[in-house]
Structures are given as structure tokens and as C-alpha cells.
């Protein structure tokens, strides 16, 4: 017990040290003169950025609290006025996120996602390999319509119960490893597909809107889907090679799925209603979310209101299932992005980077991808995108070959490539708790998956976004 106490004490000492280092860094920026080419406000914004990076990586406080600290520190150190900071929080992407969480809450409450997942898996029970591909597709598809971490939490018990029925031994069964990693990676890749999958997508849309670039739901999909479509089979193949599946027969899996489908019974009234609302919302998002029509946020809130009108969700459910902390995180992240741009800090860092990288456009694109992937693996995805997006926009303003949209898409999508560590993304942490794969397995597969996905996004950025679409 004493030992435990010691550990707790050392843990809080570590927290205190992290906080001290973070604020000391900010203090250094506060007292030191700004270098030439950057305003003092811009210099202070870089200090706040570094403070946020330290706090997001070491997490001595919840990452959402770091989000509102970013907002608080801007007026405190004199980097921006309070009105300016809170003005940028009022972006419609924040309401899009709230709406998405309410709709996802209704889907979760009535178990619609479970039914979709089981139906999906039922179609891939021909062979063990096909089954793992089915898991990956189910994870990705569900991450198009609800937040990825919710999908991971849903699929974990379903797939674990199937693995147990098949007597797949945790840590020893390659089939178990591939199945679990297929959930984690499928969710991460799927979350790139639509603005719903990850808060970082909404963040990118929000920051771009502040730059006067508005992206609709369909436009987002037009940019992101090639990455998803290429990454899913590539990653699935890597998993097959990294962990050759030892199982030959999936009849136990079939029986377990049939059992679970049987337990669910036929579709209930609320499931039909939620499906209909989801379909209507999706149609509105696809056809009417462009700026000249309704916009993403209005459609999301309309869908949420429909759920209340039909009695499919109550306010109590919203309180249970909407993580308000992410709104604060989002708010902090967007004010950071706006502040970095308006003070010229993003351009200044970008200028320094370009001096080092030279004028090779391919090298600049590769650097953006590499920095984002490295950062997103050691801190929150939203934090990584919030940190690098203003710099990427700075790169776009300094470098004629790269548009703000291209730079933002590179960072936003690379921000989803968190495959290496348990701490990289909630989907990794949730699936790790199954006990079916080790941190080494994650590192082994994640390293290759990261490199391949970086190559995919590089190819898509150069050939499709820049070459074919001309963005």
C-alpha cells in the first residue's frame, strides 16, 4: 500500500513538473523580445502553442482543460483580446459537433449501431481472412456516421465475444490480433471519410471557414474518400502479413453472430425512427450542407431536433452521451488556430520551416504529413491538428504551390493516422484493453501502416487533390 502511495505521489509530482515546464516556456516567451519578422502577439501565440503541446503530450490536466487554458491565456498574456478569442469560438462547426454527438447518442441508445455491425459482420463469415476484412469495413463504415471512438467501444465486446467463442487465446492468437487491430485501424481510417468521424475534421472545416473557405459534407467526402478506399485494403493486407492467421474455420463465429442477432430480435420502432432521421440528416448533409444552403451545423441540429420530436431521445440521454469536454477542446483548438493566423505566427513558423526545407513542393508536402503523423501519435488528434493546421496555412500563404485547402486536408487527414501507440487515439486504447494484442504488436503493425498511409496521402495529395482537382 505504501508503495502505491509513493507511486501516486510521484505521479502528482510529475504532473506538477509538467505544468511548471509548460508555464515556464510561456513565461520565457512573455519576457523575451520577439525576433524580427514577427509581432510580439505572434511571439506570445507561439509560447501558448508550445505550452499547449507540452500539456497535451504529458496530460497533467484533462486535454479539454488545456483547450480552455488556450483561450484564457491569450487575453492574460496579451496575445489577443477576450472578445476576439470568444468570437472565434462561435463557429458553426462547434454546433455541428454538438448535433453529431446527439445523433450518435440516439444511435447508441437504441443499439442501431450494434445491429448494423452484426449485419455487416454476418456478410463476411466465409473465411477468417474475409471476417477480419469485414471487421475493418464495419469499423470504417460506422465511423462515417458516428464518432470513431464510439465505434471502437461498440465493436470491442462484439468481436471479443466472437473470439472467445472461437477459443482464440489473448496475445497468442494472430486471428485475435488482426481482429482487434482491424477495429482500431478501421475506425481511424474510417474517421477520415466524413466530417463526422473525428472532431479534427470539424476543426479543420472550422478553421478553414475562418479563412473564408467553406467545405460541404459532400466536398469533404470527395477529398477524403480516395484515401479511405486505398488505405483500408492496404492496411488489411499489412495485418495479414504481420500476423498470419492460424484459424481455418469460422463456424463458431457464425454461430456467435447468429446468437447475438437472435438476441436483438427484430427492428424496434425507435430503431426505425433513428434510421430514418439518420438517413434524412445524411441526405441533407450531402445535398444541402454547402454554404449557400444550410451549412453543416444547421443540418446536424435539425437532425437532433427531429430525434426529440419523435421521442427517440430525451435530454437525459443527451446529458449521458454528449461529451461536453470535447466542445471546450475544440473551442480552444480553433481559437489557437485563428490566433496563430491573425498574429502571423503561423506564417512566421512556416517561413522558418520553408527556409530549412527549400522550395521543393514535394518535400514540403511530405514534411507536413510527417510532422502531423509524428505529433498525432503522441498527443490527442485534435491537439495535433490544432497545432499544425495554423502552421500549414502559414505554409500555404508563403508557398505559391500549396493552397490553404490542400494544406488543411493534408494535416486534417494525416492527423487520423495514429496507429503506433496505445495513447495515440481512443480507438487504440479501447481495443488494447481486450488483451488480444500487445504494445509491441501495435508498434510492429503501426509502424508499417503509418508509412504506407503516409505514402497514400502523399500520392493522393500530389496526383488527385493537386493534379486532378487543382486545389
Amino acid at each position: 500500500m505504501e508503495k502505491k502511495k509513493d507511486e501516486e505521489n510521484s505521479f502528482s509530482r510529475w504532473n506538477a513538473l509538467s505544468i511548471l515546464v509548460a508555464f515556464s516556456v510561456l513565461a520565457v516567451f512573455l519576457v523575451s523580445p520577439s525576433p524580427s519578422g514577427i509581432s510580439h502577439e505572434g511571439w506570445l501565440m507561439i509560447g501558448i502553442l508550445l505550452m499547449a503541446i507540452i500539456l497535451w503530450i504529458t496530460t497533467p490536466i484533462p486535454i479539454a482543460v488545456t483547450g480552455f487554458l488556450i483561450m484564457v491565456m491569450q487575453p492574460v498574456v496579451g496575445a489577443a483580446k477576450a472578445e476576439e478569442v470568444f468570437h472565434s469560438f462561435g463557429n458553426q462547426a462547434v454546433f455541428f459537433l454538438i448535433g453529431v454527438f446527439i445523433i450518435a447518442g440516439a444511435v447508441e441508445k437504441h443499439g442501431l449501431h450494434r445491429r448494423i455491425a452484426l449485419k455487416f459482420l454476418g456478410r463476411f463469415e466465409k473465411s477468417p481472412r474475409a471476417f477480419t476484412f469485414g471487421i475493418m469495413l464495419a469499423s470504417a463504415f460506422l465511423s462515417f456516421i458516428m464518432p470513431a471512438h464510439g465505434v471502437a467501444a461498440l465493436l470491442l465486446p462484439i468481436v471479443v465475444s466472437i473470439l472467445i467463442a472461437m477459443k482464440a487465446i489473448p496475445r497468442q492468437s494472430n486471428f485475435g490480433k488482426v481482429s482487434m487491430l482491424a477495429i482500431a485501424y478501421g475506425c481511424s481510417i474510417g474517421s477520415l471519410g466524413t466530417p463526422i468521424g473525428g472532431a479534427r475534421n470539424a476543426l479543420a472545416i472550422g478553421i478553414l471557414a475562418n479563412e473564408g473557405i467553406r467545405i460541404s459534407f459532400l466536398e469533404w467526402m470527395k477529398y477524403s474518400m480516395p484515401v479511405v478506399v486505398m488505405a483500408i485494403p492496404a492496411v488489411w493486407l499489412i495485418l495479414q502479413v504481420a500476423f498470419p492467421i492460424e484459424v481455418r474455420d469460422v463456424s463458431d463465429a457464425r454461430r456467435e453472430i447468429e446468437k447475438q442477432v437472435g438476441e436483438m430480435g427484430s427492428m424496434k420502432r425507435d430503431e426505425w425512427v433513428v434510421s430514418a432521421v439518420l438517413a434524412i440528416t445524411a441526405i441533407l448533409w450531402i445535398f444541402f450542407s454547402s454554404p449557400e444552403y444550410l451549412g453543416l451545423g444547421v443540418v446536424a441540429l435539425l437532425g437532433s431536433a427531429l430525434l426529440f420530436f419523435t421521442g427517440s431521445i430525451s435530454w437525459e440521454d443527451v446529458e449521458k452521451r454528449v461529451p461536453w469536454g470535447i466542445i471546450l477542446l475544440y473551442g480552444g483548438a480553433i481559437t489557437l488556430g485563428v490566433g496563430m493566423n491573425s498574429t502571423g505566427a503561423g506564417s512566421w513558423i512556416a517561413g522558418a520551416m520553408l527556409n530549412a526545407a527549400g522550395n521543393n513542393i514535394y518535400l514540403v508536402i511530405l514534411s507536413l504529413i510527417l510532422f502531423t503523423v509524428l505529433l498525432t501519435n503522441v498527443m490527442s488528434n485534435v491537439g495535433a491538428v490544432a497545432t499544425l493546421l495554423p502552421i500549414a496555412l502559414g505554409v500555404a500563404s508563403e508557398f505559391s504551390g500549396i493552397s490553404p485547402l490542400l494544406a488543411a486536408m493534408i494535416v486534417a487527414l494525416s492527423g487520423g493516422f495514429a496507429f503506433l501507440l496505445v495513447i495515440s487515439t481512443p480507438a487504440n486504447a479501447i481495443t488494447y484493453s481486450s488483451g488480444y494484442f500487445s504494445t509491441r504488436d501495435l508498434l510492429k503493425a503501426g509502424g508499417v501502416v503509418n508509412v504506407v498511409c503516409m505514402a497514400i496521402i502523399f500520392a493522393v495529395a500530389v496526383i488527385y487533390w493537386r493534379g486532378a482537382l487543382g486545389i
Binding site: 464518432p147 467501444a153 470491442l156 465486446p157 496505445v422
Partner: protein, 288 residues
């Protein structure tokens, strides 16, 4: 009295070392031991998942997931681990009990050892997991860490200037006789920490190399009287142990309570035992 009358076999929800269960069958058959399996639902893993999903999921959702994960752990314990135990033990008429607890691996083992007396803790070890294995440094009973790699029927007993060298030779001899395995013994003079440790575990002041070698020779003479050949080697205890284990193809390496201090600050290298477990590909028996 039997050498290992009561064996504790802790299995964490973090990972299931099936080879440790197979080894417990072997030992139980040799020594007529009773086995108790405790399945530990790792709070640490659940907490980690909780912390990382913190801002993304509500308290209610996290609780929902935790309940589901716990349910799956119990299901895995019942349908895989305890099923295996029945298969392994019941068929051979080995007396075994099972228990499920929720907590942290080392704490759960220590609490179980406070409740009942055990002669041996038998477990697996995995580097790629969240467990700290603090129990390795503070267990009253010997800990047998079964490796996935099978060595030959050879025991390597490791003595050095940094340990009392009482239990290791004794355990080596007894096991060699009971199991019929060949016994090899080495004495390592570790000059990275040039002190001698006495029978009570007290460290001496700094000694010269020749003094430490003389002490080693004295130990070798004592062992010679019992008919045991000991090879003296000079170097770091970790490296020399691993090298010797590889050379003889040891199926089991016995290590005592080495008290090595390293670095300019003279800080205890608490991880000597843990580092050995991490680096050595053979099964290790840690005595106290």
C-alpha cells in the same frame, strides 16, 4: 516437506501465459503441489483506456464500456483460461483452485500471499504490456518466470559478489536432484559495483578486484566440497548471466537478490532482476 507445496499461478487480463500453466502441471506432478490460479482483471488497463478516452466519451459511456469489457474478461477467464486449467489439471488429478479478482497485478498477488502461504509464484512475463511487475522485487516466495522459449534440462545457478549466495546454491541443488536436471553454477565478479554482500544481505565498503576475486575463489572452494563445480567470470551481472545461459542452453536460470548500485549517484539499480527477466530468453527463478 514438499519443495513447492502451494503454487500460486497469477494470470492477468493483460495477457495469458499458457506456457506457465503447462509448467505448473509439470511442477505439480513432480512435487505433488496444490495450484491456485488467480485471474486478475487489470484495473490499470481499464484506467488507461478511461484516461485516453476522457474527453471523447462521457462518464456514463465509459462506465458502460467498462462493464462490457469486464464481462468479456470474465467470459475469457471462464471459457479459455479455466477451461484450459480443467483440461490440464483435472485430467491428471492435480488439486487446483481458481479465483477472480479486480486490481493491479502486483498488489493482487501480494494480497493473496498475505492471505495464504505460497512456496512458489509461477507466472509469465511480457514486455509489451502495461504491467510494472513490481512483485519481482518484493515477494517473500520465490518467483518462477516461465519463458516462451524452451531450454534444455539444465539449471544455471547464478552467484555473485552482489548477493548473499545462500539460497541460490541450495535451490539449485535441490531442484537439480528433484527434477533430474543438470546443474551449472557461475560466480560473477561484477566490478561495476565493487562491493561484497554478506549472508545477511549487508553491503560492504568498496573492495579491490583482487579482494572480490579471492572471495569468489573462497565460495568456489566451499561449493567444491559439496561436489559442485563453479565457473568464475568477470563482468556485468546482467550480461554474463545472459551469456552463460545461452552457452549452456539453460532451461532455468536461478538468480538471487542481487543488490547492485550503479551510476555516479550510487542509486540502486532496482531493475537488475527485472532487466534480467526482460533480456533473458530462458525461464528464471528469482529467490530471496
Amino acid at each position: 516437506m514438499k519443495m513447492f507445496e502451494n503454487i500460486l499461478l497469477p494470470i492477468s487480463s493483460e495477457f495469458y501465459p499458457r506456457n506457465a500453466m503447462e509448467r505448473s502441471v509439470f511442477l505439480a506432478e513432480k512435487f505433488g503441489s496444490r495450484i491456485k490460479i488467480i485471474y486478475i482483471i487489470e484495473e490499470k488497463t481499464l484506467e488507461k483506456a478511461d484516461k485516453i478516452t476522457d474527453v471523447y466519451r462521457t462518464h456514463y459511456e465509459k462506465e458502460e464500456t467498462e462493464v462490457e469489457i469486464e464481462h468479456e474478461y470474465l467470459s475469457a477467464a471462464d471459457r479459455i483460461i479455466f477451461d484450459d486449467a480443467k483440461e490440464f489439471f483435472e485430467k491428471r488429478g492435480i488439486d487446483f483452485q481458481r479465483k477472480v479478482v479486480k486490481g493491479q497485478f502486483s498488489d493482487a498477488i501480494r494480497e493473496e500471499m498475505e492471505r495464504e502461504h505460497y512456496d512458489l509464484v509461477l507466472m509469465g512475463f511480457e514486455k509489451g504490456c502495461l504491467l510494472h511487475y513490481r512483485i519481482i522485487d518484493n515477494s517473500y516466495a520465490p518467483i518462477w518466470i516461465e519463458s516462451a522459449e524452451k531450454g534444455r534440462e539444465i539449471i544455471l545457478a547464478v552467484c555473485s559478489n552482489l548477493a548473499p549466495n545462500l539460497k541460490v546454491p541450495e535451490m539449485g541443488e535441490k531442484l537439480s536432484k528433484s527434477l533430474g536436471w543438470e546443474l551449472h553454477m557461475i560466480y560473477i565478479v561484477d566490478m561495476q559495483d565493487n562491493v561484497a554482500v554478506d549472508g545477511q544481505g549487508q553491503r560492504s565498503g568498496r573492495k579491490s578486484e583482487s579482494e572480490l576475486i579471492d572471495a569468489g575463489k573462497e565460495f568456489i572452494r566451499e561449493m567444491g566440497k559439496k561436489g559442485i563445480d563453479v565457473k568464475m567470470v568477470k563482468g556485468s551481472i546482467e550480461k554474463e548471466t545472459i551469456r552463460a545461459a545461452r552457452e549452456v542452453g539453460a532451461g532455468l536460470v536461478i538468480v538471487g537478490r542481487e543488490q547492485k548500485r550503479t551510476g555516479i549517484m550510487g542509486i540502486y539499480a532496482k531493475t537488475v532482476r527485472k532487466r534480467l527477466v526482460e533480456k533473458c530468453n530462458y525461464s528464471i527463478l528469482l529467490t530471496n
